[in-house]
């Protein structure tokens, strides 16, 4: 019996090693580490956001903001939580192939982007901000500034 147990342990070690190896290779091949950075190129690793990237390259905010500035919330924990959650949904969508050609913000990602304008422009719009009921949406009028 010790011989059989030892064999099984080796087999387990081998299979786990293989899985970790293939997993690591997949991570490197899919440029997994790039998703932890702020580099806009990471967002066009797959071609779904090619149009948005091309639009950003030519848009006014290229000098001032990268994708993550407007599409992730403030603070290191909310930022990476949002990246992890959206990243997971994006991978599922892209792997399964269920992506509309004109991609769209979800309500909560739209809220993040709306709020992100204030990271820089809070002073200018202070007089405009209405706290009663619904807050004014910057994107409603200025949705072309990031990319179009």
């Amino acid at each position: 019996m010790p011989f059989r147990s030892a064999l099984l342990v080796w087999l387990l070690a081998l299979s786990m090693g293989l899985t970790v190896g293939v997993g690591l290779y997949t991570f490197v091949y899919a440029r997994g580490a790039s998703y932890l950075t702020d580099d806009p190129k990471a967002c066009v690793n797959c071609h779904v956001m090619r149009n948005e990237y091309d639009g950003w390259v030519k848009a006014s905010h290229r000098q001032a903001a990268v994708c993550n500035d407007c599409h992730t919330p403030d603070g290191i924990v909310p930022k990476y939580a949002s990246k992890a959650y959206n990243g997971f949904l994006h991978s599922v969508a892209f792997t399964s192939g269920h992506v509309p050609d004109a991609i769209q913000l979800k309500p909560y990602t739209r809220a993040i982007t709306d709020h992100a304008c204030l990271k820089c422009h809070a002073d200018i719009v202070e007089a405009l901000r209405v706290e009663r009921g619904q807050e004014l949406s910057c994107l409603r009028c200025h949705r072309n500034v990031g990319h179009q």
């Binding site: 019996m1 147990s5 099984l8 342990v9 387990l12 299979s15 293939v22 779904v48």
Partner: protein
């Protein structure tokens, strides 16, 4: 001994779970690899194309994604006011079609009164996809009602190579020869509905104009604007051509003179009234109304003219942007050659620019169409009433001046009404312009009725 049983089982389960994990990760790796590959794949030239190949299947070997979509224009899908239903019919020797679109005459019998005496009162169906254009023209009962010339094929078949052959390489000569042929003779020269070569140059795939009537029509229009000798194939931008290639056919036209030359009446401009003024000056008539004796004009699908008056044209949005919107095939961005109503493709057609929910966008379009349709119905009731009055006036011996005055109102009102009725967007291409034209039509027709009452 007894303790190693569960331990062994645990180990086996661990191996199985790890194996499933490895399986999944490898599948993901392969999927990522495939996605990487498809983003590199662009275009393979497997056949040499030239200016005499009208068979779309040959072009399709080089452009399989575009060709596949092009073949899907056989789809028959309804929208609220447009699109076609597949109506089964029993094929006969004269007409082998087993499926046709629904009859518009049956849907609204007022049209029979409005077009009385003209072939359209005999057979007029909802138009189907591009794939059916040649069959539906070949077998319509209008062919039996009236002897049609070869000119008709300009917009119902891929005639470019046939014109080149007829004219020995000169499209204009071939065009003139084909206009002069009887329909049945010209029909033998063509095989396909609109095909790749009608809009694309075979060597560069650039858009180009192949129809002489559009080349001449747009030249006359530009001359009015002070641009002499406009040559559309060298002077139009790519974005302009993405509307112009469609405007080779989706326009108002008439057959000029005994040579039946296909002509677009644009010398005064593209507005419905500009076109009416052109016809009033040339005294052209399509037919004489059976009940009223008025020399009338039938408008024909003036989509390009109507679109030109709308906000989308003003914003530089071409036909292809909404009717052939860009789509992704793998990593490639191509225009969708399944030409169809944007209402069946709202995400690609509208939401690229209009970031609103699909239901909201559809509701906006249908609101415009509902309003146009209501006005169109009012115009039709007015027309039917004028026709009845004029018919009665002729029978009770009204004076010829009085009749002539009312007939002139009938002619103008009929054309303006038909300009909106025949246009395939139920007002959407230019909502206010459509309402303006219908308002004018209703006014003219009612004036016609008043003129018979001696006012």
């Amino acid at each position: 001994m007894n303790g190693s049983g569960p331990a062994t089982r645990t180990l086996i389960v661990a191996v199985v779970v790890t194996a499933i994990g490895a399986f999944a990760v490898t599948a993901l790796l392969i999927n990522i690899f495939q996605r990487e590959q498809e983003s590199k794949h662009t275009f393979f030239r497997v056949v040499e194309l030239n200016d005499r190949i009208d068979d779309p299947a040959v072009w399709g070997k080089n452009f399989p994604f575009q060709y596949d979509a092009y073949l899907r224009t056989v789809d028959q899908v309804r929208t609220r006011y447009g699109g076609s239903e597949a109506i089964p019919r029993t094929p006969t020797n004269v007409d082998p079609r087993s499926v046709v679109a629904q009859s518009k005459l049956e849907a609204d019998p007022r049209l029979k009164t409005i077009w009385a005496g003209y072939a359209f009162a005999r057979d007029f169906r909802e138009d189907r996809g591009h794939a059916y254009m040649l069959d539906d023209q070949t077998y319509t009962e209008r062919q039996i009602a009236v002897k049609q010339p070869g000119t008709c094929l300009q917009c119902h078949a891929s005639v470019y190579t046939a014109m080149m052959d007829l004219g020995n390489g000169d499209v204009l000569k071939g065009f003139e020869k084909m206009n002069g042929l009887p329909y049945a003779d010209a029909r033998k020269l063509v095989k396909h509905p609109v095909s790749c070569i009608d809009c694309h140059a075979p060597d560069t795939m650039q858009l180009r104009i192949t129809r002489p009537a559009f080349i001449e029509g747009i030249r006359a229009l530009k001359a009015r604007d002070g641009i002499e000798n406009y040559d559309v194939n060298t002077m139009a931008t790519r974005q302009e051509l993405r509307a112009f290639v469609c405007a080779q056919c989706h326009v108002e036209y008439y057959f000029k003179g005994t040579e039946k030359r296909l002509t677009f009446p644009w010398a005064n401009g593209l507005h419905a009234d500009d076109i009416l003024a052109y016809y009033e000056a040339t005294q052209f008539k399509d037919w004489v109304h059976a009940d009223t004796g008025a020399p009338l004009l039938k408008a024909q699908h003036p989509e390009f003219e109507m679109w030109s008056q709308g906000i989308h044209a003003r914003s530089g949005v071409a036909c292809a942007d909404c009717h052939m919107p860009y789509k992704r095939e793998g990593g490639m961005k191509i225009s969708d050659h399944h030409v169809r109503s944007p209402l069946l493709n709202i995400n690609r057609a509208c939401q690229t620019c209009h970031k609103w929910p699909e239901a909201e966008l559809k509701a906006r379009v249908e609101m415009i169409q509902d309003r146009t349709f209501e006005l169109r119905n009012r115009a039709m009731d007015a027309l039917v009433a004028l026709i009845a009055d004029l018919k009665a006036a002729r029978e009770t011996g009204a004076s010829s001046e009085q009749l002539a005055r009312a007939q002139a109102f009938h002619r103008q009102g009929q054309f303006l009404f038909d300009f909106v009725e025949a246009e395939n967007s139920t007002g959407f291409h230019a909502p206010q312009e459509a309402a303006r034209i219908l308002g004018q039509a209703i006014d003219l027709v009612r004036q016609g009725q008043l003129s018979l009452r001696g006012r």
